[in-house]
């Protein structure tokens, strides 16, 4: 462990004019600020872990300002590079930094460089660099991919990475880590400073920052003076819902809490929930509180206005999603409300940490469970937060698609030697275990696509020269690279437009009148699954889907107040493993129930009577009949994503066992599968049935077959293909694309799977699937964990514990059958009609 207690260092005294400036403000130097000064003096890289409001930013910049106080010659190159994940943050910090510089009369030039910086200023920055440059990871990638990178950065002394905890675990962090290794070679004397919120494993983050074998020193700011957070679950006499995520029952209570606070943030898990909650609060906003909305589908200008209003203190509450997590100063937020469970202890702690800058008063948080299961999750989150326990970070290696982008960038910068570049990239922690074979495959991919069919030699993007260096083939390749830098891949979006349908021969949606206005944009994959008449919530209204016409989704206003398509359309974060373990433990331990609301404790007691509550390490599977169907409900507690994948695979296995599954639904806690055949009887006849159903071999052929057509897998592949540059986002001289002319990544995926299944990009996409939308790694762990520990309880009716997930049916049902089987069934209808009877109509979309 690399933790150095801050008070064991002597006070690093501040030179003038800094000491005077601190004194004039009535500040004394904090221990961690002092420590960072010392680290800088010793030329050691450091990772500072401190809560907001602890002078973190100043701690990061003091060493640079001290260095630069004596003045510096012009055209010397950048002295300090500051990188933040957000443009707005970089701009904000630059503005704040001007204050001490101006007040102390220092001759320091500070500039920002983001996607918004005008081209003329960007050009001038290359010729005449500022002393301190504040920028984003994407700009860093662009700047190092150029021949004048040594001129710009050869004299860099310090690199500051802000919000390092947010960057390191994701692909953006992979790309930045590679960029930092390059910068270390361009400027060998450089030291790195990371600024981070509290994390469970500071060592991992220190390695990401400093290098695989050269981790930074961890500096953990003293938290003893900070009061423990005050986190409660909303108490309510209202009946707790069994299922659902809107927490409608709690709106009045939430509103009353808003009135008592200065500025509250109301976090929800999905954009649609944000819209709902926003509407519900305004419907009861008798006191005219200033309540705003902030989420990813709103346009950037609107989000900035909300953020500015927050900072200016002109709002009372903001309903928001995780898009507000990384951001500028939250101003005077004094209450954080979570509608629905926070999904992870770390997320909760980080949000609490961002609110309330007065360290002497406790930060306040209120958890509002939307249903009974969420009460357990909220309780677990509070216990974890009070214990200071954090979620484990999901371990992933650096993306191969990101590496491909970086390799091309390095060729754009200057011809490279493969051995030297391999040695360089493996110094970055995410790529420390990169096999040489994979590296070579990536170089081969960058050059000619990495195909067994050697058809693209003449189109090579990079070529080996006489001196065995890899060189970019022509300037167009470099231009294409620069236009497509970055790891953020947007989902293709469709505009949503009001209109009305008219009938033609092919059904109700022939030529469409599209006179209405555009309401906003929604993801294409969402619309693709809608059929005529489906209703959904968008932009605060309930709309009916009519058709897709010329790349727009045409909708009409629906009179229904309850949309058919559920509001909970894919929240970003599943329940964390850590919280899941706590919830399982809570269920198994009766003595822990006293801390729960009466309604919930009673519910669990009923479950113990009617069925059973599994031991902590076991998994309960219940089977029971209901109506004309038979149900199998399992409680793995592995989060919605892993359960979704599990459901897909289980339904296929049940199909093979001729048990006629019809559908399944998955929540963060449980999965319910239903079918036409009695599963209790199947288990009775064959004792190994349930165990076999959940056997690890489902990750073999069943998984492969499903991946071939899984839309989630195709979306995952598409992102990897874009990041790796197989498909460009933007293209020099790109004409307006029509749907016919553009190349679908789904077609590429199909062809690649069939003809070269071991292609390096498929490998990259599979790695993403392990921790992303498909959560394969988590599913694999779960199957291993429950082997031999499945408790099967056949029942003659639904159990109390199953009610929540059963209620999701009809709201959120998903079906696992192969698309072809579904088509065959649909085709049968026509045959039946023609033959004059009604077979095959097994519940049209129940």
């Amino acid at each position: 462990m690399c933790v150095i207690p801050v008070d064991s260092f002597p006070d690093e005294s501040l030179p003038e004019p800094f000491a005077a400036w601190f004194a004039a403000r009535g500040w004394s130097v904090r221990p961690h600020q002092s420590t960072l000064l010392q680290k800088a003096r010793l030329n050691r890289s450091a990772l500072l872990i401190a809560p907001t409001g602890a002078g973190k930013t100043l701690a990061g910049f003091l060493p640079s300002l001290v260095d630069l106080a004596g003045g510096r010659r012009r055209h010397a190159g950048v002295h300090t590079l500051y990188v933040s994940p957000l443009k707005a943050l970089a701009v904000d910090i630059a503005r704040n930094l001007e204050v001490p510089v101006a007040e102390m009369g220092l001759a320091v030039r500070i500039e920002t460089r983001t996607g918004d910086t005008p081209a003329s200023r960007r050009q001038r920055q290359r010729r005449d660099p500022p002393d301190i440059l504040l920028t984003t990871p994407e700009q860093v990638a662009l700047l190092i991919a150029s021949a004048d990178a040594p001129h710009l950065f050869g004299a860099v002394k310090r690199i500051i990475i802000d919000e390092a905890h947010a960057l390191a675990p994701i692909k953006r962090g992979d790309l930045l880590a590679l960029g930092l290794e390059r910068l270390k070679r361009i400027a060998p004397g450089v030291t790195l400073t990371g600024l981070s919120a509290t994390v469970r494993d500071p060592d991992d983050l220190a390695r990401w920052l400093g290098g695989a074998t050269t981790p930074a020193d961890c500096v953990i700011a003293d938290r003893k003076s900070a009061a423990a957070p005050d986190i409660r679950i909303l108490e309510t006499d209202e009946r707790l819902p069994w299922a659902g995520h809107t927490a409608r029952h709690a709106m009045d209570a939430i509103y009353r809490t808003l009135k008592r606070s200065k500025l509250s943030l109301i976090f929800v898990n999905t954009r649609m929930q944000a819209e709902f909650v926003f509407q519900l609060l305004w419907a009861i906003n008798d006191d005219n509180l200033r309540i705003a909305l902030h989420h990813g589908s709103l346009d950037v200008g609107q989000r900035r206005r909300v953020e500015a209003a927050m900072a200016a203190g002109s709002l009372d509450a903001v309903v928001c999603t995780s898009t507000l997590d990384l951001g500028i100063d939250w101003g005077d937020v004094d209450l954080v409300i979570h509608v629905g469970a926070p999904k992870g202890a770390s997320r909760l702690l980080q949000r609490i940490g961002r609110s309330n800058h007065r360290l002497d008063e406790p930060s306040r948080a209120l958890l509002v469970p939307a249903n009974r299961f969420e009460v357990l999750e909220c309780r677990a989150a509070i216990d974890a937060a009070n214990a200071g326990a954090q979620d484990a970070e999901v371990i992933r290696a650096g993306g191969l698609d990101v590496l491909a982008q970086h390799v091309l960038g390095m060729a754009v910068a200057a011809p490279f030697d493969a051995d030297a570049l391999y040695a360089e990239v493996t110094c970055a922690a995410p790529y420390a275990t990169l096999a040489r074979g994979d590296f070579d495959a990536i170089v081969d991919y960058v050059a000619t696509g990495g195909y067994a069919l050697k058809s693209y030699e003449r189109f090579a993007r990079i070529r080996r020269t006489k001196d065995a260096l890899w060189r970019v083939s022509n300037p167009a390749i470099a231009q294409g690279y620069r236009m497509n830098v970055g790891t953020i891949v947007e989902e293709p979006m469709l505009k949503v437009r009001l209109g009305r349908a008219r009938s033609t021969g092919l059904g109700p949606t022939g030529p469409i009148s599209r006179g209405g206005r555009v309401l906003g944009e929604v993801e294409e994959y969402f619309v693709e699954q809608l059929t005529y008449g489906d209703t959904f919530v968008f932009a605060g209204e309930v709309l009916r889907f009519e058709a897709i016409v010329e790349n727009e989704a045409v909708v009409s206003r629906a009179s229904a107040s309850d949309p058919k398509v559920p509001s909970y359309m894919g929240g970003k974060f599943p329940l964390s493993t850590h919280l899941a373990e706590r919830v399982r433990a809570m269920l198994a331990d009766r003595t822990a129930w006293s801390g729960l609301p009466e309604q919930v404790a009673a519910w669990l007691a009923l479950q113990a009577d009617a069925s059973l509550l599994p031991a902590r390490a076991d998994m309960l599977v219940e089977t029971f009949p209901r109506g004309a169907r038979h149900y199998l409900v399992a409680y793995p507690f592995e989060g919605r994503l892993a359960h979704q994948t599990l459901g897909m695979l289980l339904t296929r296995r049940l199909e093979r066992a001729r048990l006629k599954p019809l559908g399944f639904v998955a929540s963060d806690y449980a999965i319910a599968v239903w079918g036409a055949e009695d599963m209790s009887r199947a288990a009775w006849r064959e004792p190994a049935f349930i165990g076999d159903l959940f056997s690890q071999d489902m990750l073999g052929d069943d998984l492969e077959e499903w991946l071939a057509e899984s839309s989630l897998m195709k979306r995952t592949f598409r992102k990897a293909a874009v990041i790796a540059g197989m498909i460009e986002r933007r293209h020099p001289g790109m004409e307006k694309k029509t749907r016919q002319v553009s190349m679908s990544s789904d077609l590429i995926y199909d062809v690649l799977r069939r003809h070269q299944p071991d292609h390096i990009l498929l490998k990259a996409a599979r790695a993403d699937a392990a921790t992303g939308l498909l959560d394969l790694a988590r599913l694999a762990q779960m199957l291993s964990r429950i082997r031999g520990r499945i408790i099967h309880k056949p029942l003659d009716r639904v159990s109390p514990l199953a009610v929540p997930v059963m209620l999701e049916i009809g709201r959120e049902a998903v079906y696992g059958e192969a698309a072809d089987a579904l088509l065959e069934e649909a085709a049968d209808d026509l045959v039946a009609e023609a033959m004059g009877h009604d077979f095959g109509r097994a519940g049209h979309r129940d």
Partner: protein
Amino acid sequence: MISAAQATGTETMPVAITIGGERFFADVTGALWHPGHQALLVADLHLEKGSSYARSGQLVPPFDTIATLSRLAAAATRWRARSIFVLGDAFHDAFAEERIADEAVAAIDALAAGRRLVWIKGNHDPAPPEQVPGDRADEVRLGDLVLRHEPRKALEGAEIAGHLHPVARVATRAQVVRRRCFVHDERRLLLPAFGAYAGGISVRLPVIAELFSMPSVHVLGERRVLSIARDRIV
């Protein structure tokens, strides 16, 4: 001659379609078989589409040409076709001939061996490369039926055309499934795009919908062609 059931390898009767008085069978690959003339009809191969992207630095997998030609050869073998008609957009662009691999040209030579191979070319189509065998034509008459690339808005008689890459979005019990399809009424039929990289557009869009009155739709399943009721197409 081979029976339709034998050629499609299924026990159920394959989908039969009558246009302009001529009888055809729909093949699961997206080809159309005319038993009378022992002719196989395909459209929109878009050969060398993959390599056209490679030209601009997007190195998409180059397997599309060979994959498409293999699928065509397999269908031609299965039906024991005497003629093959390619209804336009066979090659993705005018420079395909510079990029096409020798193996692909050899595959086309094999297709043409012992058969009549006809490239039907629409107004805006690139012409097939010089080195490729087969007849070139703007249109072909099959009795009262005309085979052409682009469908005519004002149709006289009957036609089979390609160009529009029809796709049906089928509302199944569970979800909307998207598949390439044949769409036709008594006078006009549109072939699905045959090429591995050819995308598609929904038959509900006006550009296709307005060509038909009360059309029938047959989608390409994994194992066979499936006829779908109109109200299932969304």
